[in-house]
Symmetry: C2
Subunit: 329 residues, 2 copies
């Protein structure tokens, strides 16, 4: 696959590093803008959590469990594991008559500095609730209780994952060419980048009155944009970008350089993958695309934060900066 | 510049991410092996600290200050800021009748987990001694005292940096096409990757009896290989690789995906740059090159640590692994 140069890292007057990738913008008629190859096969990783959450609503499980917008935002989140997130997911599981031990996502030190410091300095180990995917897994457990499946809900042939794969293949419009085990142990299905952008376009065009799936998609976007702090956390790109766009755009990052955006007003979906997997580049690229499509004001402070024209070192001296590669946006 | 595919990141049965770069192996007759472009212009960043330390010895400043191998190893280090490093650099400065305030490298939280945890949990701020470059700066201050230069030793036209540039251009065999301000505020001079590999080959061929510069270079390599824990720190690639090669090879990492190696027994020097700046790829690539040249046993545990054929997630499940791209090593 031939990737396009997207993000440049400069030092002094010389180009120091360069990030290549693929980006697709889909509208109602299909792909409108493409950099690199639309057919590049990618693992969406966490960028497709809203797709993985569709069966949770469509099955009636969410309504049966009395889930609100906060729960749905967490089901689409790669949260920071702050007290806010850990507490909310813990209460959610308690409401299901379950607990942390029912999760199958594993544990890692949270991204949130306050909570990470609290754990480190009290010599306390992080639990599965701290895992950035614990909200998605609480959603899986909610669906599983409704489907009466077995405890190992992350296995590829489990009813929960069969439902996820079906929804994923339907909204991407493709038969997944393969899958892998994600960091949180759930299956992650591959697709083309255009398929992922097509899925995001479906979410962008979805309206509550459009039927079961469209209503579910619209509800998830309503949840993400209503609670951006639950989808990621303070100082995280997703939260900053959704706040900066005033709730008019839903964005989601994925590991290994993936980022997607859903623009309901334009009925457009965006998907991009940085070939080398760098988050600094995927965050800069999605920022550039949102500005390019007029969904984010070029002078909004978040633009200079995620696409810094000037970078500084430990003493505050300017060392270089980030630039868009020629031909990108 | 056309980079070569070097390191692949796989998930399940699919390629998830890919790192491109340039790599050059130089022997006594010049470039012997090249992947990507030998003429690619790069910032060596911290990989050229042994070059920046040459004037410290050649000027007689090191001898006048009574520096030993430990000091010289620290002058070439990107250390972890562990108590071991902070204490040694602090004593060095005291011996010069100077202190932390004379440094111009700035402060950052150390890489060393024990020291970082101590600072965080005692709400203590890191000082300039914690900066991974503080040993290099202690070397600059030692040279500066000898040259009787002004206090701002990191300025581009300061006698210390003029001496560094001269040594850098002589061992790379090139006139530097430009420079930038490094993370530690010192000037970092650019060169071609072949020039950097040529400089490393000079170090590899240097012997104590070979004259002033050769003796200085040989002394620095003796210091790096004698004290690998001072050049980086526990669980760091440089320290692990130098221990794994039993002191027969000196290696040094540089920010933004640079890695160099010096092989005295083979009189060979290696320099590589990962285009996107990823350390995971530069560490894997230098490991592959050392194995390829017979300087590191393929079955040594460090190989599977830096070039893991199987990667596992938070629950210990295998998710994929790292592979060498077709045609690399």
């Amino acid at each position: 696959m031939t990737a396009a140069a997207l993000i440049e890292i400069w030092r002094g007057d010389l180009l120091e590093s360069l990030h290549h990738g693929h980006a697709v913008v889909c509208g109602p008629q299909g792909a409108e803008l493409v950099w690199g190859e639309a057919g590049a096969v990618v693992f969406p990783r966490s960028s497709c959590k809203m797709v993985q959450a569709l069966p949770l609503i469509e099955s009636g499980a969410a309504e049966a469990a009395g889930l609100g917008l906060r729960h749905l935002a967490l089901s689409c989140a790669s949260h920071s594991g702050a007290a806010l997130h850990v507490g909310a997911v813990g209460e959610w599981l308690t409401g299901l008559g379950m607990g942390e031990a029912d999760l199958r996502c594993g544990s890692h030190l949270p991204f949130d500095k306050v909570e990470a410091t609290r754990l480190t300095c009290s010599d306390e180990k992080p639990c599965q609730l701290h895992n950035n995917c614990s909200g998605k897994h609480a959603g899986f457990l909610t669906l599983n209780r409704h489907l009466k499946g077995g405890a190992e809900y992350v296995e590829i042939d489990h009813p929960v994952q069969r439902a996820v794969r079906a929804a994923f293949e339907e909204v991407t419009g493709e038969t997944s060419p393969g899958w892998g085990v994600d960091g949180c142990s759930a299956p992650n299905f591959a697709c083309t980048l255009e398929g992922l952008a097509r899925a995001m376009q479906f979410f962008a065009a979805a309206r509550p009155e459009g039927g079961l799936r469209a209503a579910a998609a619209a509800r998830l976007i309503e949840a993400m944009t209503a609670f951006p702090e639950l989808v990621a956390g303070e100082n995280r790109a997703c939260t900053k970008l959704m706040r900066a766009t005033g709730g008019k755009v839903a964005v989601k990052t994925g590991a290994e350089g993936v980022f997607v955006a859903i623009l309901p007003e334009q009925k457009r979906g965006i998907a991009l993958k940085i070939t080398d997997g760098a988050s600094r580049a995927s965050e800069a690229a999605i920022t550039a695309l949102l500005v390019h499509l007029g969904a984010l004001a070029p002078d909004h402070p978040v633009v200079a934060q995620l696409l810094p024209p000037v970078s500084k070192n430990w003493r505050g001296l300017a060392t270089g900066g980030m630039r868009l590669a020629k031909g990108f946006c």
